[in-house]
């Protein structure tokens, strides 16, 4: 396994880590509709999204 301190032997840890590394993605940015908008449209924003998500985390067992 590659760490900031170098390459370390990690036993079967990679079997677990690979699932978490593979499932990590950045935020989703996507336009669902294209073109000129006629009428009202809404732009939803989640205030404090990162801190709120972080506050839900707990220590792993």
């Amino acid at each position: 396994m590659m760490t900031p301190a170098g390459v370390e032997l990690s036993g079967d840890l990679h079997e677990y880590l690979d699932y978490f590394l593979g499932s990590y993605h950045g935020g989703r940015n996507e336009s669902y509709l294209y073109g000129v908008v006629q009428g009202t449209f809404y732009d939803y924003d989640l205030p404090g999204a990162y801190p709120t998500a972080m506050s839900l985390l707990d220590y792993p067992l």
């Binding site: 900031p4 677990y16 593979g22 990590y24 989703r28 801190p51 972080m54 506050s55 839900l56 792993p60």
Partner: protein
């Protein structure tokens, strides 16, 4: 480790609550009903491209899996890892009284109260055995009916005390931030500190080249001391 199995089997075995209060990562094959307009499961095409198709094979987190199941997705689990939180079981009210954080929070501000209520709203109580997957998903009507039935079943919040370590940190930073007027330098600085906390958990995780202002070039960002794939995912 999670063995290969059907998605409904896994969801019934774990239950939504245990899935929410855990670090779960899965490798899955999935097929959404054709009426789903915006599928939520990401599939990586190459180093920098991610699409959200109706069917495919991908890695996903437990929460993405749960949302996909609520969209009536047919999922086959190929493998995975499930690590529950230390306090994965809700504390019973008679054993430990629930803290009234609304009274404890001195600064009354919508953002803090939103954080408080948002936490509780995130954990809706639902009996695992009451989960009955809808098999017939051919029409929009059945799909919408199923979603509405599930939504109406989620109206009973859990009474679990807020004692996660990160909640305490976030609460302290938000309290400090709200001492300063909105848009002021210190207010924005504390906002940055709060956002940087979770950013540092994932820093350099995907080994992606990013712009470096010191060298005026793009290079792979090194990992930080706070990096943790469990927290980031």
């Amino acid at each position: 480790m999670i063995q290969p199995q059907n998605g409904k089997t896994l969801l019934c075995a774990l239950g939504e609550e245990r899935l929410l209060r855990s670090y779960t990562a899965l490798k899955i094959k999935f097929v959404f009903p054709s009426c789903v307009q915006y599928p939520n499961l990401p599939v990586r095409l190459d180093f920098s491209s991610i699409i959200f198709p109706l069917s495919g094979e991908t890695f996903c987190t437990g929460l993405e899996f749960l949302l996909a199941m609520r969209l009536n997705c047919e999922i086959t689990i190929l493998g995975g890892v499930h690590i529950p939180f230390q306090n994965s079981q809700p504390v019973q009210q008679d054993k430990k009284p629930v803290r009234d954080l609304k009274k404890e929070i001195l600064v009354v501000d919508p953002r803090i109260t939103n954080l408080y209520t948002g936490y509780h709203q995130a954990w809706y109580y639902k009996e695992p055995e009451s989960f009955k997957p809808q098999l017939n998903t051919n029409t929009n009507y059945l799909f919408l009916k199923n979603v509405l039935e599930k939504q109406t079943g989620l109206d009973k919040p859990l009474n679990i005390p807020i004692e996660t370590q990160f909640f305490t940190v976030v609460q302290e930073v938000l309290k400090e931030r709200l001492k300063y007027p909105k848009g002021s330098y210190m207010n924005l600085l504390y906002k940055f500190i709060a956002n940087a906390g979770i950013g540092q958990m994932a820093r350099g995780l995907n080994q992606k080249p990013k712009y470096d202002s010191q060298t005026n070039s793009t290079r792979i960002q090194p990992a930080g001391a706070l990096i943790n794939p469990l927290y980031a995912g």
